[in-house]
Protein backbone atom coordinates (compact mmCIF):
# COMPACT_ATOMS: atom_id res chain seq x y z
CA UNK A 1 0.00 0.00 0.00
CA UNK A 2 1.23 3.48 -0.90
CA UNK A 3 0.85 6.67 1.12
CA UNK A 4 1.38 10.20 -0.15
CA UNK A 5 3.74 12.36 1.91
CA UNK A 6 2.41 15.95 2.01
CA UNK A 7 5.71 17.72 2.77
CA UNK A 8 8.11 15.44 0.86
CA UNK A 9 5.63 15.60 -2.07
CA UNK A 10 6.23 11.98 -2.90
CA UNK A 11 4.45 8.65 -2.62
CA UNK A 12 5.95 5.70 -0.78
CA UNK A 13 5.21 2.04 -0.11
CA UNK A 14 4.44 2.05 3.62
CA UNK A 15 6.40 -1.15 4.25
CA UNK A 16 9.67 0.61 3.34
CA UNK A 17 9.69 3.33 6.05
CA UNK A 18 8.19 0.97 8.65
CA UNK A 19 10.89 -1.63 7.93
CA UNK A 20 13.59 1.04 7.92
CA UNK A 21 12.30 2.40 11.23
CA UNK A 22 12.35 -1.10 12.71
CA UNK A 23 16.00 -1.68 11.72
CA UNK A 24 17.26 1.74 12.84
CA UNK A 25 15.15 1.57 16.04
CA UNK A 26 16.77 -1.78 16.80
CA UNK A 27 20.22 -0.20 16.43
CA UNK A 28 19.09 2.70 18.58
CA UNK A 29 17.95 0.43 21.41
CA UNK A 30 21.06 -1.73 21.10
CA UNK A 31 23.75 0.94 20.93
CA UNK A 32 22.23 4.18 22.19
CA UNK A 33 22.67 5.95 18.87
CA UNK A 34 19.92 7.95 17.18
CA UNK A 35 20.72 6.33 13.86
CA UNK A 36 20.62 9.59 11.91
CA UNK A 37 23.91 8.75 10.20
CA UNK A 38 22.19 5.64 8.80
CA UNK A 39 18.54 6.66 8.40
CA UNK A 40 18.98 9.97 6.55
CA UNK A 41 21.02 8.53 3.64
CA UNK A 42 18.62 5.58 3.37
CA UNK A 43 15.59 7.90 3.21
CA UNK A 44 17.30 9.91 0.46
CA UNK A 45 17.84 6.64 -1.41
CA UNK A 46 14.07 6.05 -1.17
CA UNK A 47 13.48 9.36 -2.99
CA UNK A 48 12.83 11.66 -0.02
CA UNK A 49 14.36 15.15 -0.51
CA UNK A 50 17.47 15.48 1.67
CA UNK A 51 16.15 18.39 3.76
CA UNK A 52 12.91 16.52 4.53
CA UNK A 53 14.83 13.30 5.24
CA UNK A 54 17.10 14.96 7.83
CA UNK A 55 14.29 16.89 9.55
CA UNK A 56 11.82 13.97 9.63
CA UNK A 57 14.53 11.67 10.88
CA UNK A 58 14.94 13.93 13.93
CA UNK A 59 11.21 13.62 14.60
CA UNK A 60 11.24 9.83 14.48
CA UNK A 61 14.37 9.73 16.67
CA UNK A 62 12.31 11.55 19.33
CA UNK A 63 9.94 8.55 19.33
CA UNK A 64 12.66 5.89 19.17
CA UNK A 65 14.78 7.52 21.87
CA UNK A 66 11.71 8.04 24.12
CA UNK A 67 10.89 4.36 23.74
CA UNK A 68 14.53 3.37 24.27
CA UNK A 69 15.13 5.75 27.20
CA UNK A 70 11.96 4.48 28.87
CA UNK A 71 13.04 0.85 28.45
CA UNK A 72 16.53 1.57 29.82
CA UNK A 73 15.21 3.77 32.66
CA UNK A 74 12.93 0.95 33.85
CA UNK A 75 15.97 -1.23 34.40
CA UNK A 76 18.00 1.61 35.95
CA UNK A 77 20.35 2.22 33.04
CA UNK A 78 20.03 6.00 32.64
CA UNK A 79 22.44 8.41 34.37
CA UNK A 80 20.28 11.55 34.35
CA UNK A 81 22.94 13.66 36.09
CA UNK A 82 25.61 12.86 33.49
CA UNK A 83 23.04 13.21 30.70
CA UNK A 84 22.12 16.69 31.93
CA UNK A 85 25.75 17.96 31.87
CA UNK A 86 26.36 16.42 28.45
CA UNK A 87 23.16 18.07 27.26
CA UNK A 88 24.28 21.50 28.51
CA UNK A 89 27.59 21.09 26.66
CA UNK A 90 25.83 19.74 23.57
CA UNK A 91 23.49 22.72 23.47
CA UNK A 92 26.38 25.23 23.65
CA UNK A 93 28.40 23.20 21.13
CA UNK A 94 25.42 23.06 18.78
CA UNK A 95 25.19 26.87 18.75
CA UNK A 96 28.94 27.15 18.07
CA UNK A 97 28.71 24.53 15.30
CA UNK A 98 25.81 26.31 13.58
CA UNK A 99 27.84 29.55 13.56
CA UNK A 100 30.87 27.65 12.21
CA UNK A 101 28.76 26.30 9.35
CA UNK A 102 27.52 29.81 8.55
CA UNK A 103 31.12 31.05 8.29
CA UNK A 104 32.14 28.05 6.16
CA UNK A 105 29.18 28.57 3.84
CA UNK A 106 30.13 32.22 3.43
CA UNK A 107 33.68 31.09 2.58
CA UNK A 108 32.22 28.66 0.02
CA UNK A 109 33.77 25.40 1.26
CA UNK A 110 31.14 24.15 3.72
CA UNK A 111 30.27 21.10 1.63
CA UNK A 112 33.89 19.94 1.54
CA UNK A 113 34.38 20.41 5.30
CA UNK A 114 31.10 18.65 6.14
CA UNK A 115 31.87 15.59 4.02
CA UNK A 116 35.48 15.28 5.11
CA UNK A 117 34.50 15.71 8.79
CA UNK A 118 31.86 13.03 8.35
CA UNK A 119 34.22 10.52 6.76
CA UNK A 120 37.07 11.21 9.18
CA UNK A 121 34.88 11.06 12.30
CA UNK A 122 33.07 7.91 11.24
CA UNK A 123 36.29 6.29 10.05
CA UNK A 124 38.36 7.12 13.15
CA UNK A 125 35.63 6.24 15.66
CA UNK A 126 34.64 3.07 13.81
CA UNK A 127 38.18 1.83 13.29
CA UNK A 128 39.27 2.58 16.87
CA UNK A 129 36.22 0.93 18.42
CA UNK A 130 36.50 -2.09 16.15
CA UNK A 131 40.19 -2.71 16.81
CA UNK A 132 39.97 -1.98 20.53
CA UNK A 133 36.90 -4.16 21.06
CA UNK A 134 38.35 -7.05 19.10
CA UNK A 135 41.60 -6.94 20.99
CA UNK A 136 39.86 -6.73 24.37
CA UNK A 137 37.61 -9.64 23.39
CA UNK A 138 40.71 -11.64 22.56
CA UNK A 139 42.26 -10.42 25.80
CA UNK A 140 45.43 -9.35 24.05
CA UNK A 141 45.60 -5.96 25.66
CA UNK A 142 48.95 -4.68 26.73
CA UNK A 143 47.72 -3.69 30.15
CA UNK A 144 50.85 -1.92 31.23
CA UNK A 145 50.80 0.61 28.38
CA UNK A 146 47.09 1.20 28.90
CA UNK A 147 47.62 1.68 32.59
CA UNK A 148 50.25 4.35 31.99
CA UNK A 149 48.03 6.16 29.48
CA UNK A 150 45.04 5.92 31.75
CA UNK A 151 46.90 7.25 34.74
CA UNK A 152 48.01 10.36 32.80
CA UNK A 153 44.52 11.10 31.52
CA UNK A 154 42.97 10.22 34.88
CA UNK A 155 45.43 12.47 36.70
CA UNK A 156 44.60 15.38 34.41
CA UNK A 157 40.83 14.83 34.77
CA UNK A 158 41.12 14.57 38.54
CA UNK A 159 43.09 17.84 38.70
CA UNK A 160 40.14 19.75 37.26
CA UNK A 161 37.84 21.72 39.63
CA UNK A 162 34.12 21.04 40.37
CA UNK A 163 34.58 17.29 40.93
CA UNK A 164 31.31 15.42 41.43
CA UNK A 165 30.29 11.79 41.80
CA UNK A 166 27.93 10.21 39.27
CA UNK A 167 26.31 7.45 41.27
CA UNK A 168 24.54 5.63 38.47
CA UNK A 169 27.73 5.38 36.42
CA UNK A 170 29.94 4.85 39.46
CA UNK A 171 32.48 7.45 38.29
CA UNK A 172 33.79 10.79 39.62
CA UNK A 173 34.56 13.62 37.23
CA UNK A 174 34.74 17.37 37.11
CA UNK A 175 31.46 18.86 35.86
CA UNK A 176 33.59 20.56 33.21
CA UNK A 177 34.49 17.22 31.59
CA UNK A 178 31.01 16.16 30.43
CA UNK A 179 30.14 19.78 29.55
CA UNK A 180 33.31 20.11 27.42
CA UNK A 181 32.91 16.71 25.76
CA UNK A 182 29.21 17.32 25.17
CA UNK A 183 30.16 20.64 23.59
CA UNK A 184 32.72 18.97 21.33
CA UNK A 185 30.16 16.44 20.11
CA UNK A 186 27.62 19.27 19.75
CA UNK A 187 29.95 21.20 17.44
CA UNK A 188 30.66 18.15 15.28
CA UNK A 189 27.00 17.10 15.27
CA UNK A 190 25.92 20.56 14.10
CA UNK A 191 28.54 20.59 11.35
CA UNK A 192 27.62 17.08 10.22
CA UNK A 193 23.86 17.53 10.67
CA UNK A 194 23.43 14.47 12.89
CA UNK A 195 22.52 13.82 16.54
CA UNK A 196 26.03 12.71 17.45
CA UNK A 197 25.18 9.47 19.27
CA UNK A 198 27.86 7.50 17.44
CA UNK A 199 30.44 10.01 18.73
CA UNK A 200 28.98 10.33 22.22
CA UNK A 201 28.92 6.58 22.93
CA UNK A 202 32.70 6.08 22.46
CA UNK A 203 33.45 9.26 24.44
CA UNK A 204 31.34 8.02 27.36
CA UNK A 205 33.09 4.69 27.26
CA UNK A 206 36.72 5.62 26.65
CA UNK A 207 37.00 8.99 28.42
CA UNK A 208 34.19 9.11 30.98
CA UNK A 209 34.70 5.38 31.77
CA UNK A 210 30.98 4.74 32.13
CA UNK A 211 29.66 1.16 32.02
CA UNK A 212 28.36 0.22 28.55
CA UNK A 213 24.74 -0.46 29.57
CA UNK A 214 24.43 2.89 31.36
CA UNK A 215 26.00 4.59 28.33
CA UNK A 216 23.25 3.35 26.01
CA UNK A 217 20.42 4.63 28.20
CA UNK A 218 22.15 7.94 28.99
CA UNK A 219 23.04 8.56 25.33
CA UNK A 220 19.40 7.97 24.34
CA UNK A 221 18.27 10.41 27.03
CA UNK A 222 20.58 13.09 25.65
CA UNK A 223 19.61 12.37 22.02
CA UNK A 224 15.92 12.66 22.94
CA UNK A 225 16.29 16.30 24.02
CA UNK A 226 18.62 17.22 21.15
CA UNK A 227 16.13 15.84 18.61
CA UNK A 228 13.13 17.55 20.26
CA UNK A 229 14.96 20.87 19.76
CA UNK A 230 15.95 20.03 16.16
CA UNK A 231 12.42 18.84 15.24
CA UNK A 232 10.87 22.04 16.51
CA UNK A 233 13.42 24.29 14.79
CA UNK A 234 13.11 22.39 11.49
CA UNK A 235 9.29 22.62 11.63
CA UNK A 236 9.30 26.27 12.59
CA UNK A 237 12.02 27.64 10.32
CA UNK A 238 12.34 25.26 7.36
CA UNK A 239 8.88 23.54 7.28
CA UNK A 240 10.62 20.30 6.35
CA UNK A 241 9.24 17.77 8.86
CA UNK A 242 6.90 15.30 7.14
CA UNK A 243 4.39 14.17 9.74
CA UNK A 244 3.10 11.20 7.71
CA UNK A 245 6.60 9.89 7.02
CA UNK A 246 7.54 10.38 10.69
CA UNK A 247 4.50 8.32 11.78
CA UNK A 248 5.49 5.47 9.44
CA UNK A 249 9.10 5.55 10.64
CA UNK A 250 8.21 5.69 14.33
CA UNK A 251 5.77 2.79 13.96
CA UNK A 252 8.84 0.69 13.26
CA UNK A 253 11.45 2.50 15.32
CA UNK A 254 9.60 2.50 18.67
CA UNK A 255 9.13 -1.26 18.51
CA UNK A 256 12.66 -1.72 17.19
CA UNK A 257 14.10 0.34 20.07
CA UNK A 258 12.36 -1.90 22.62
CA UNK A 259 13.57 -5.01 20.87
CA UNK A 260 17.07 -3.51 20.76
CA UNK A 261 17.02 -2.83 24.50
CA UNK A 262 16.04 -6.49 25.14
CA UNK A 263 18.71 -7.91 22.82
CA UNK A 264 21.28 -5.46 24.21
CA UNK A 265 21.01 -6.95 27.69
CA UNK A 266 21.77 -10.39 26.26
CA UNK A 267 24.96 -9.17 24.57
CA UNK A 268 28.24 -8.29 26.27
CA UNK A 269 29.58 -4.73 26.16
CA UNK A 270 32.45 -5.74 23.85
CA UNK A 271 30.07 -7.48 21.45
CA UNK A 272 27.90 -4.34 21.33
CA UNK A 273 30.93 -2.19 20.55
CA UNK A 274 32.18 -4.47 17.77
CA UNK A 275 28.74 -4.50 16.16
CA UNK A 276 28.39 -0.71 16.34
CA UNK A 277 31.94 -0.26 15.02
CA UNK A 278 31.21 -2.58 12.08
CA UNK A 279 28.09 -0.58 11.18
CA UNK A 280 29.92 2.76 11.49
CA UNK A 281 32.73 1.42 9.27
CA UNK A 282 30.25 0.12 6.69
CA UNK A 283 28.64 3.58 6.50
CA UNK A 284 32.14 5.13 6.18
CA UNK A 285 32.99 2.83 3.24
CA UNK A 286 29.67 3.71 1.57
CA UNK A 287 30.42 7.43 2.00
CA UNK A 288 33.95 7.08 0.61
CA UNK A 289 32.57 5.23 -2.43
CA UNK A 290 29.91 7.92 -2.94
CA UNK A 291 32.63 10.56 -2.83
CA UNK A 292 35.07 8.85 -5.17
CA UNK A 293 32.91 7.04 -7.76
CA UNK A 294 31.45 9.14 -10.59
CA UNK A 295 27.75 9.76 -9.86
CA UNK A 296 25.14 8.86 -12.49
CA UNK A 297 23.63 12.34 -12.17
CA UNK A 298 25.74 15.49 -11.91
CA UNK A 299 22.85 17.57 -10.59
CA UNK A 300 21.08 17.28 -7.24
CA UNK A 301 18.29 19.04 -5.41
CA UNK A 302 19.45 22.03 -3.40
CA UNK A 303 19.04 22.01 0.36
CA UNK A 304 20.95 18.89 1.42
CA UNK A 305 24.62 18.35 2.13
Amino acid sequence: MYLYLPVALTSINILLPIGLGLIVGLLSGLFGVGGGFLMTPLLIMLGIPSTVAAATDSNQIVAASTSGTYAHWKVGNVDFKMGFYLLVGGFIGGLVGVEAIKILRAMGNADFVIKITYVLMLGIVGAYMFIESLSSMRKKKTEEVTAVKESKIAAFLKSLPLQTHFEKSGVTHSVLVPVFLGGLVGILAAIMGVGGGFLMVPIMFYILKMPMHVIVGTSLFQILFTCIEVTFLQSYTNHTVDFTLAVLLLLGSTIGAQAGAIFGRKLKGEQLKVLLAAIVLAVTVKMVLDLTLAPSLLLAQTGGH
Binding site: Y4, S11, S67, T231, D242, F243, T292, L298
Partner: protein
Protein backbone atom coordinates in the same frame (compact mmCIF):
# COMPACT_ATOMS: atom_id res chain seq x y z
CA UNK B 1 7.89 50.03 -72.54
CA UNK B 2 9.58 50.34 -69.18
CA UNK B 3 6.27 51.28 -67.48
CA UNK B 4 4.34 48.33 -68.92
CA UNK B 5 7.10 45.92 -67.81
CA UNK B 6 6.96 47.32 -64.31
CA UNK B 7 3.18 47.05 -64.26
CA UNK B 8 3.36 43.43 -65.37
CA UNK B 9 5.80 42.63 -62.60
CA UNK B 10 3.59 44.35 -59.99
CA UNK B 11 0.55 42.41 -61.22
CA UNK B 12 2.47 39.13 -61.03
CA UNK B 13 3.66 39.88 -57.49
CA UNK B 14 0.15 40.86 -56.35
CA UNK B 15 -1.34 37.73 -57.90
CA UNK B 16 1.31 35.54 -56.29
CA UNK B 17 0.67 37.10 -52.90
CA UNK B 18 -3.08 36.75 -53.32
CA UNK B 19 -2.77 33.09 -54.27
CA UNK B 20 -0.48 32.45 -51.30
CA UNK B 21 -2.93 34.15 -48.94
CA UNK B 22 -5.84 32.24 -50.50
CA UNK B 23 -3.95 28.96 -50.04
CA UNK B 24 -3.22 29.76 -46.40
CA UNK B 25 -6.81 30.84 -45.78
CA UNK B 26 -8.22 27.68 -47.36
CA UNK B 27 -5.74 25.56 -45.46
CA UNK B 28 -6.60 27.17 -42.12
CA UNK B 29 -10.30 27.33 -42.86
CA UNK B 30 -10.30 23.57 -43.05
CA UNK B 31 -7.88 23.04 -40.14
CA UNK B 32 -9.78 21.76 -37.14
CA UNK B 33 -8.34 20.69 -33.84
CA UNK B 34 -9.97 19.83 -30.54
CA UNK B 35 -8.49 18.54 -27.30
CA UNK B 36 -9.93 17.10 -24.11
CA UNK B 37 -8.08 15.66 -21.15
CA UNK B 38 -10.27 12.92 -19.67
CA UNK B 39 -8.83 13.34 -16.18
CA UNK B 40 -8.34 17.08 -15.82
CA UNK B 41 -8.69 17.35 -12.04
CA UNK B 42 -6.23 15.12 -10.23
CA UNK B 43 -6.79 14.97 -6.49
CA UNK B 44 -3.85 14.15 -4.26
CA UNK B 45 -5.25 12.28 -1.26
CA UNK B 46 -3.47 10.14 1.33
CA UNK B 47 -3.33 7.11 -0.97
CA UNK B 48 -2.25 8.97 -4.12
CA UNK B 49 0.46 7.22 -6.11
CA UNK B 50 0.28 9.07 -9.42
CA UNK B 51 -2.51 8.87 -11.96
CA UNK B 52 -3.11 8.58 -15.69
CA UNK B 53 -4.29 11.24 -18.09
CA UNK B 54 -5.90 10.49 -21.42
CA UNK B 55 -5.75 13.22 -24.07
CA UNK B 56 -8.13 12.89 -27.02
CA UNK B 57 -9.57 15.04 -29.78
CA UNK B 58 -10.27 15.48 -33.46
CA UNK B 59 -7.84 16.76 -36.07
CA UNK B 60 -8.59 17.86 -39.62
CA UNK B 61 -6.92 17.61 -42.14
CA UNK B 62 -6.45 13.90 -41.57
CA UNK B 63 -2.90 13.90 -42.87
CA UNK B 64 -1.65 16.46 -40.31
CA UNK B 65 0.91 15.30 -37.79
CA UNK B 66 0.25 15.95 -34.13
CA UNK B 67 2.42 17.07 -31.23
CA UNK B 68 1.03 17.02 -27.69
CA UNK B 69 2.84 19.08 -25.06
CA UNK B 70 1.96 19.00 -21.35
CA UNK B 71 3.78 21.57 -19.24
CA UNK B 72 3.65 23.45 -15.98
CA UNK B 73 4.13 27.20 -15.88
CA UNK B 74 7.66 28.38 -16.55
CA UNK B 75 9.75 29.54 -13.63
CA UNK B 76 13.11 29.43 -11.90
CA UNK B 77 14.95 26.27 -10.84
CA UNK B 78 18.10 25.88 -8.82
CA UNK B 79 20.19 22.71 -8.52
CA UNK B 80 23.55 21.66 -7.05
CA UNK B 81 26.28 20.98 -9.60
CA UNK B 82 28.60 18.08 -8.80
CA UNK B 83 32.16 17.99 -10.04
CA UNK B 84 35.52 16.54 -9.03
CA UNK B 85 37.54 18.26 -6.34
CA UNK B 86 41.28 17.60 -6.34
CA UNK B 87 40.81 14.95 -9.08
CA UNK B 88 39.49 12.53 -6.44
CA UNK B 89 36.29 13.59 -4.68
CA UNK B 90 32.88 14.21 -6.25
CA UNK B 91 31.18 17.08 -4.48
CA UNK B 92 28.65 19.83 -4.85
CA UNK B 93 30.81 22.59 -6.25
CA UNK B 94 28.34 25.10 -7.62
CA UNK B 95 24.73 26.00 -8.22
CA UNK B 96 22.99 25.76 -11.58
CA UNK B 97 20.31 28.41 -11.96
CA UNK B 98 17.83 28.08 -14.81
CA UNK B 99 15.19 30.64 -15.78
CA UNK B 100 12.14 30.28 -18.07
CA UNK B 101 11.98 26.55 -17.51
CA UNK B 102 8.91 24.42 -16.72
CA UNK B 103 9.07 21.97 -13.85
CA UNK B 104 7.11 19.41 -15.88
CA UNK B 105 7.56 18.91 -19.64
CA UNK B 106 5.97 15.99 -21.50
CA UNK B 107 6.12 15.87 -25.28
CA UNK B 108 4.44 13.26 -27.50
CA UNK B 109 4.40 13.32 -31.29
CA UNK B 110 3.16 11.16 -34.14
CA UNK B 111 6.64 11.26 -35.76
CA UNK B 112 10.05 12.62 -34.81
CA UNK B 113 9.58 16.34 -34.32
CA UNK B 114 12.75 17.20 -36.27
CA UNK B 115 11.26 15.41 -39.32
CA UNK B 116 7.84 17.07 -39.29
CA UNK B 117 8.48 20.62 -38.07
CA UNK B 118 10.82 23.42 -39.11
CA UNK B 119 13.42 24.55 -36.58
CA UNK B 120 11.84 27.99 -36.67
CA UNK B 121 8.47 26.67 -35.47
CA UNK B 122 10.13 24.31 -32.99
CA UNK B 123 11.78 27.32 -31.37
CA UNK B 124 8.65 29.46 -31.65
CA UNK B 125 6.49 26.94 -29.77
CA UNK B 126 9.35 25.50 -27.64
CA UNK B 127 8.86 21.97 -28.96
CA UNK B 128 11.68 19.53 -28.24
CA UNK B 129 14.73 19.62 -25.97
CA UNK B 130 16.94 21.58 -28.46
CA UNK B 131 14.33 24.35 -28.57
CA UNK B 132 13.89 24.28 -24.80
CA UNK B 133 17.67 24.68 -24.50
CA UNK B 134 17.48 27.79 -26.69
CA UNK B 135 14.55 29.07 -24.66
CA UNK B 136 15.95 28.81 -21.12
CA UNK B 137 18.50 31.10 -19.49
CA UNK B 138 21.30 29.54 -17.45
CA UNK B 139 24.09 30.95 -15.29
CA UNK B 140 26.86 29.56 -17.51
CA UNK B 141 29.60 31.44 -19.29
CA UNK B 142 29.64 29.78 -22.73
CA UNK B 143 27.52 27.72 -25.14
CA UNK B 144 29.56 24.56 -24.56
CA UNK B 145 28.83 24.70 -20.83
CA UNK B 146 25.19 25.51 -21.51
CA UNK B 147 24.76 22.38 -23.66
CA UNK B 148 26.63 20.22 -21.17
CA UNK B 149 24.63 21.34 -18.13
CA UNK B 150 21.36 21.42 -20.04
CA UNK B 151 21.90 17.75 -20.99
CA UNK B 152 22.59 16.98 -17.32
CA UNK B 153 19.43 18.88 -16.42
CA UNK B 154 17.39 16.73 -18.84
CA UNK B 155 18.93 13.55 -17.36
CA UNK B 156 18.04 14.77 -13.86
CA UNK B 157 14.45 15.67 -14.80
CA UNK B 158 13.88 12.43 -16.71
CA UNK B 159 15.18 10.41 -13.76
CA UNK B 160 12.68 12.33 -11.58
CA UNK B 161 9.96 11.42 -14.15
CA UNK B 162 9.14 15.11 -14.63
CA UNK B 163 10.37 15.27 -18.24
CA UNK B 164 9.44 12.71 -20.88
CA UNK B 165 9.18 12.43 -24.65
CA UNK B 166 7.69 9.79 -26.90
CA UNK B 167 7.32 9.26 -30.65
CA UNK B 168 4.56 7.26 -32.33
CA UNK B 169 2.51 6.56 -29.21
CA UNK B 170 -0.42 8.75 -30.24
CA UNK B 171 -3.19 6.45 -31.53
CA UNK B 172 -4.82 7.77 -34.74
CA UNK B 173 -8.09 6.66 -36.28
CA UNK B 174 -9.87 8.18 -39.29
CA UNK B 175 -13.61 8.61 -38.88
CA UNK B 176 -16.12 10.66 -40.94
CA UNK B 177 -13.29 12.28 -42.85
CA UNK B 178 -11.59 13.46 -39.67
CA UNK B 179 -8.75 12.13 -37.62
CA UNK B 180 -9.44 11.00 -34.02
CA UNK B 181 -6.38 10.91 -31.83
CA UNK B 182 -5.79 9.57 -28.34
CA UNK B 183 -2.89 9.08 -25.97
CA UNK B 184 -2.89 7.72 -22.43
CA UNK B 185 -0.05 9.13 -20.34
CA UNK B 186 1.06 8.10 -16.87
CA UNK B 187 0.91 11.05 -14.51
CA UNK B 188 3.83 10.73 -12.05
CA UNK B 189 3.30 11.32 -8.33
CA UNK B 190 6.46 13.42 -8.48
CA UNK B 191 4.57 16.16 -10.38
CA UNK B 192 3.70 18.73 -7.71
CA UNK B 193 0.28 20.31 -7.21
CA UNK B 194 -0.50 23.09 -9.68
CA UNK B 195 -2.00 24.00 -13.03
CA UNK B 196 -0.77 22.23 -16.14
CA UNK B 197 -1.45 23.08 -19.78
CA UNK B 198 -2.05 20.50 -22.51
CA UNK B 199 -1.35 21.98 -25.95
CA UNK B 200 -1.93 20.05 -29.16
CA UNK B 201 -0.24 21.24 -32.34
CA UNK B 202 -1.46 20.14 -35.80
CA UNK B 203 1.53 20.18 -38.13
CA UNK B 204 1.62 20.11 -41.91
CA UNK B 205 4.36 20.96 -44.41
CA UNK B 206 6.76 21.59 -41.50
CA UNK B 207 4.49 24.32 -40.10
CA UNK B 208 2.11 24.49 -37.15
CA UNK B 209 -1.30 25.03 -38.77
CA UNK B 210 -3.51 24.88 -35.67
CA UNK B 211 -3.26 24.65 -31.91
CA UNK B 212 -5.73 23.72 -29.17
CA UNK B 213 -5.32 23.77 -25.41
CA UNK B 214 -6.83 22.15 -22.34
CA UNK B 215 -5.95 22.37 -18.64
CA UNK B 216 -5.18 19.89 -15.91
CA UNK B 217 -5.45 20.87 -12.26
CA UNK B 218 -3.51 18.86 -9.68
CA UNK B 219 -4.37 19.69 -6.08
CA UNK B 220 -4.00 18.29 -2.62
CA UNK B 221 -7.21 17.39 -0.78
CA UNK B 222 -8.32 16.20 2.66
CA UNK B 223 -5.68 15.25 5.22
CA UNK B 224 -2.80 15.79 2.78
CA UNK B 225 -3.92 19.38 2.17
CA UNK B 226 -4.47 20.09 5.88
CA UNK B 227 -1.03 18.77 6.86
CA UNK B 228 0.77 20.56 4.01
CA UNK B 229 -0.93 23.85 4.89
CA UNK B 230 -0.24 23.48 8.60
CA UNK B 231 3.44 22.68 7.93
CA UNK B 232 3.73 25.76 5.75
CA UNK B 233 1.58 28.28 7.61
CA UNK B 234 1.74 27.15 11.23
CA UNK B 235 5.18 25.63 11.72
CA UNK B 236 5.24 26.06 15.51
CA UNK B 237 1.99 24.14 16.08
CA UNK B 238 2.99 21.55 13.49
CA UNK B 239 6.36 21.05 15.21
CA UNK B 240 4.74 20.85 18.65
CA UNK B 241 2.21 18.25 17.48
CA UNK B 242 4.94 16.22 15.73
CA UNK B 243 6.99 16.13 18.95
CA UNK B 244 3.95 15.27 21.10
CA UNK B 245 3.03 12.43 18.77
CA UNK B 246 6.58 11.09 18.83
CA UNK B 247 6.78 11.31 22.64
CA UNK B 248 3.35 9.68 23.00
CA UNK B 249 4.25 6.87 20.62
CA UNK B 250 7.56 6.25 22.37
CA UNK B 251 5.94 6.04 25.80
CA UNK B 252 2.98 4.09 24.45
CA UNK B 253 5.13 1.38 22.92
CA UNK B 254 7.31 1.41 26.06
CA UNK B 255 4.24 0.75 28.22
CA UNK B 256 2.99 -2.02 25.93
CA UNK B 257 6.38 -3.76 26.10
CA UNK B 258 6.50 -3.27 29.85
CA UNK B 259 3.05 -4.83 30.32
CA UNK B 260 3.97 -7.71 28.06
CA UNK B 261 7.12 -8.16 30.08
CA UNK B 262 9.42 -7.17 27.26
CA UNK B 263 11.33 -4.55 29.19
CA UNK B 264 12.31 -6.75 32.07
Amino acid sequence: MKNSGLKNRIVIIIMSLSLSLLYLCINNAFAELTVKANHDHIKIDSFYNGSSVGVRGISNPVDADLIIKITSAEGHQSLHEKSKVGSILWMNTGELKIENVPNVYFLHSTRKIENILSREDMDKYVLGYPSLEQHVKMNVTNEEDKTRWFNEFIKFKESSKLFDTSVGEIALKEKDGKQNYYILTQWPYQAPPGNYTVTVYAVKDKKVIETATANILVEQVGMVKSLAEMAKNNGALYGFLSIMLALGSGFGVGLVFRKSGGAH
